[in-house]
């Protein structure tokens, strides 16, 4: 993910992070170099006393690598350069944490630990200058919160991307139009129905009705979890279009939840023949087609 320079500037402005803070942080460089290793060692001791830490760093080599990266991170805080490279680097760290599956609370816990440990050490180093300590800590807080914001963004961005990909995968599911018997088409619908998918489905179905000379179409929506006004309208349109071409549509597989939703939403499916499950739908279609095939002109009552 990318964060534009304007956005970074905006975030810094919101945190009231300015040149004075840069100055305060630069003054910490010497101390930071002194403290980096002990603070990080302390944190990993802390982390490894929890199951999440032990689980994560079973691999000692990985632990060493991560520690070294942390030292670099730590020293970056006081370089005085918080431009695009800095932001990029923070985003990359966040992305790595997200990829290795480090929980967000562990990530936040780390920032918390560093801030506490560093402020303690600052008070010890500058006992006689409490005001200087205060301003330094405030500047550090601003910068660390900028970091946290960036890190969280990478987490959220990654998750959102995953969701988008999955949504696309679901809506890209092909909807086959199957000929079950002569004159009978079956369309099993699975997943989300959005406008483009509904359109594609309808066009495909209409062509299939003509090509197969279908007289009955069974739309099975067992695999559709959620039906709202839009989805219902899509289905109604598909059915109306099929009917214009002389095919009857039977909808099967309305779950109790879907049926309830439709009623609550006030969607009228009065003109649509709905049945409980696919078997009933096929039975009904067969019965209908049985009459279709009977051209002898002899009236025959349905079996049921």
């Amino acid at each position: 993910m990318g964060v534009t320079p304007e956005e970074v500037a905006e975030r810094k402005a919101f945190l009231e992070f300015d040149d004075r803070d840069v100055g305060h942080l630069q003054e910490l460089t010497g101390l930071a170099q002194q403290y980096a290793v002990p603070v990080i060692e302390a944190f990993y001791r802390h982390l490894l006393s929890f199951p999440v830490g032990q689980e994560f760093f079973e691999d000692r080599a990985l632990l060493e690598r991560v520690k070294q990266a942390q030292v670099r991170y730590f020293l970056d805080l006081t370089t005085g350069d918080y431009g695009p490279d800095y932001v990029e680097n923070r985003l990359r760290i966040g992305a790595v944490h997200e990829r290795i599956g480090l929980p967000v609370d562990a990530d936040l816990g780390m920032y918390n630990f560093y801030l506490r440990d560093v402020s303690k050490r600052l008070f010890e180093a500058w006992r006689d200058k409490p005001e200087r300590v205060l301003t330094a800590i405030q500047s550090l807080l601003k910068l660390v919160f900028l970091d946290i914001g960036l890190a969280l963004d990478t987490y959220i961005d990654h998750r959102e991307r995953t969701i988008r990909l999955q949504q696309r995968a679901i809506s890209d599911l092909p909807t086959p139009v199957l000929q079950l018997r002569e004159g009978l088409l079956l369309v099993p619908i699975v997943g989300l129905i959005d406008s483009s998918r509904a359109r594609q489905l309808t066009e495909q179905l209409l062509q299939a009705i003509r090509a197969n000379r279908a007289k009955v179409v069974v739309l099975d929506i067992t695999g559709v979890q959620a039906v709202d006004t839009k989805v219902a309208n899509h289905l109604v349109q598909t059915m109306e279009a099929s009917r214009l071409m002389g095919a009857n549509v039977i909808v099967s597989g309305l779950s109790p939840e879907v049926a309830q939703t439709l009623v609550v939403l006030g969607i009228d499916l009065g003109n649509v023949r709905t049945v409980g499950d696919l078997q009933v739908a096929i039975d009904e279609a067969d019965r209908f087609l049985g009459y279709q095939a009977d051209r002898s002109g002899v009236a025959r009552q349905p079996e049921s």
Binding site: A214, A241, G246, Y291, V298
Partner: protein, 125 residues
């Protein structure tokens, strides 16, 4: 352009060969309605296979024709609506206007529908 109306047994067959004007639709309706009574036709097949558009006026007129013909004691079956036309009509919200008219894929199916209806063998839908 007048639409020719053929007679086939107890049925009348009107095939709309190309896009026609609004007044031609009305004339077709009038012709069919009068023939239904005069020839004692039991059914009317309206074939629109060759049309690539059915607009709102056509849809309304078709609905009116079918209703009137029913009052004259015959049944109308609309046959040959193409996939693209059906899709467009649904998109434009015109499908509801034709809700009361029987439809069939083509003349053969339409004839079968009329046969069933005339013989009273099928009472579904």
């Amino acid at each position: 352009m007048a639409v020719p109306i053929l007679r086939q047994g107890p049925y009348l067959i009107a095939t709309v060969m190309a896009a026609i004007e609004d007044h031609d639709w009305q004339r077709l309706g009038a012709d069919l309605v009068s023939l239904t009574g005069g020839d004692r036709a039991k059914g009317v097949l309206l074939d629109v296979t060759n049309l690539d558009v059915l607009d709102s006026f056509a849809a309304r007129t078709l609905a009116t024709i079918a209703q009137t013909i029913r009052l004259r004691g015959a049944m109308t079956v609309l046959v040959g609506i193409q996939p693209e036309v059906a899709f467009a009509m649904v998109q434009l919200g015109l499908a509801g206007r034709l809700a009361g008219i029987a439809t069939a894929l083509d003349l053969v199916d339409g004839m079968a529908t009329l046969d069933r209806s005339v013989h009273g063998a099928w009472r579904h839908g």
